[in-house]
Amino acid sequence: MAAKDNPDYFDLAGQVLDHMIVDSEDMPCGKVDDIEIEGDLGGPLRVKALHVGPGAWMPRLPALLALIAGKFFRRSTVAVAWEQVEEITPTIKLRSTAAELGLGKADRKAARFMRKVLRS
């Protein structure tokens, strides 16, 4: 039986990496910038977490660009436990809100600033 015929089959690189993450309230809160896999050589592997943030995408850039990007962004990363993933469609749906998982900080900061501007 081909791997694709297995009903539980999914392609981590094709269906998870670089896909949009939405929280339990359907709010976009980043992209899957990297996938953490654990296991020993010769043994089964399992997905441990999805990584989101500059610290996860910077190493994927060519060296010179990564160096330049490092000057502009902090290498922060949020690890989202694989158990948080509720559904994989074209987007990755999580079981919790972005705030509970520490995702979407920049969005909340920008929203606070926007509220201040709108009030003044």
Binding site: D18, H19, M27, K31, D107, A110, A111, F113
Partner: protein, 413 residues
């Protein structure tokens, strides 16, 4: 009845929103320099933009994904990031030239200083995008852009030789005076193809489908809007070739650079009404295009990085998206304030657009044909064949674009 009216308005909005300053400059100049002999490129490019527009709208209806969601997913992070940067440099350049074009038109109407008018245009565009809901933006600028139909009336009233028009619809190489004119013809062919298939139109059309909450049941609306709307829009652009060929060429205006030159034909034919309609049409068409480029830039950033986006979310729930389009408008206005010629700027932006075209269109066709993602709404055989064919053609055009720009000294021969 309501759905039919929506469809009708959607088609008209797509038609009125089709032409921008780049198309205006290249079509008028193509007509003035080569008569009707580049009409076939318009026809060829129109089929291409319909094919890709339909796919982009269908992806929005079925998956609710934006173009840069799939760019990053399909061509990888590093190549996707390069495409994002290049696409947005082009977006800022195009937005700047549209702002400059609007300021020139207002200067013709009001006679106020150009730089002051750039500020005025900036505030007008910011206010329009901030206060108007997405559908109103589409409809207002799309429908008012229909003043441009004065160019269709003018092209017909100028009594073209219809046999030459028909001959221009088939691929041809015109008789030229010098060998170097062949390069100029090739440059205009590539630039016209790029002007019709501009990537931002596809980004915006796809994002519009998400903004309007399209569902798979809207696929028929998408087919009509992209098919008929883009075809009629292209007819409008083709009429500018006619005005270039029948009015500018005989009058020896071979470099119809300023938007004002475009209004000369309608003015001579219809007097003040013709002039006002031409200028009003260009004003709304360029304003719509400026908004489309700024919003496209914001959509692409948000989609690539996974920010909440869309006018429907409002500024508090999509703050970074809102900041992004405000920044793009401001950068574009600053670029125009340097005194750079908007027409020269748009020529470069159009040529650079074609360079990123294959990187934008490859992920679109890859997703639209994928049954695992699109299910029963995946491409049929015809869409696949046309999609790959236009991808190959746009890649060849991308390879030729920059050498032709250099050889022809930016289209000056």
């Amino acid at each position: 009845m309501h759905n039919l009216l929506e469809l009708f308005l959607g088609i008209l909005s797509a038609m009125g929103g089709f032409v921008d300053i780049g198309e205006l400059v290249f079509t008028l100049n193509a007509g003035a320099k080569f008569g009707y002999s580049l009409l076939w490129i318009m026809l060829f490019g129109t089929v291409g933009v319909i094919v890709y527009g339909e796919m982009a709208g269908r992806i929005a209806a079925v998956t609710h994904l934006g173009i840069f969601d799939i760019v990053r997913d399909r061509i990888g992070f590093a190549a996707g990031l390069a495409t994002l940067v290049a696409a947005n440099l082009v977006n800022v350049m195009t937005c700047a030239s549209e702002i400059g074009g609007i300021a020139i038109i207002l200067k013709l109407f009001l006679g106020w200083p150009y730089r002051f008018l750039i500020f005025l245009v900036l505030f007008f565009l910011l206010a329009a995008v901030w206060f108007l809901p997405f559908k109103w933006i589409e409809r207002t600028f799309g429908l008012l852009g229909l003043f441009m139909v004065i160019f269709i009336f003018s092209a017909v009233a100028l009594q073209p030789d219809w046999s030459r028009v028909a001959a221009g619809l088939a691929p041809n190489v015109p008789e030229v005076r010098e060998q170097s004119d062949y390069f100029l013809y090739a440059y205009f062919a590539v630039a016209l193809f790029s002007a019709i298939m501009l990537p931002y139109e596809i980004y915006f059309y796809n994002a519009g489908g998400v903004e309007d909450r399209w569902k798979p049941t809207d696929i028929t609306v998408n087919r009509f809007t992209s098919g008929l709307g883009f075809a009629l829009g292209s007819l409008l652009a083709a009429s500018l070739i006619g005005v270039g060929a029948e009015y500018l060429r005989p009058h020896g205006i071979a470099d119809a650079l300023l938007p004002g030159a475009a209004a000369l034909g309608p003015m001579e034919l219809y007097g003040k009404v013709g002039l006002a309609a031409a200028l009003a049409g260009m004003f709304f068409a360029f304003s719509g295009a400026a908004i489309e480029t700024a919003l496209s830039a914001a959509y692409s950033f948000a989609q690539f990085w996974g920010w909440p986006w869309g006018k429907f979310r409002g500024p508090k729930n999509a703050a970074r998206f809102y900041f992004a389009w405000i920044v793009v408008f401001s950068l574009a206005a600053l670029l125009t304030l340097t005194g750079i010629d908007p027409v020269e700027l748009v020529e470069y932006s159009i040529v650079f657009s074609i360079v990123i075209l294959p990187l934008t269109y490859l992920p679109v066709v890859a997703v639209a044909r994928n049954k695992a993602i699109m299910g029963k709404f995946a491409n049929g055989r015809l869409a696949n064949v046309l999609g790959w064919f236009y991808l190959i053609v746009s890649t060849l055009a991308a390879l030729a674009a920059v050498p032709l720009l250099i050889v022809t000294h930016g289209g000056k021969g």
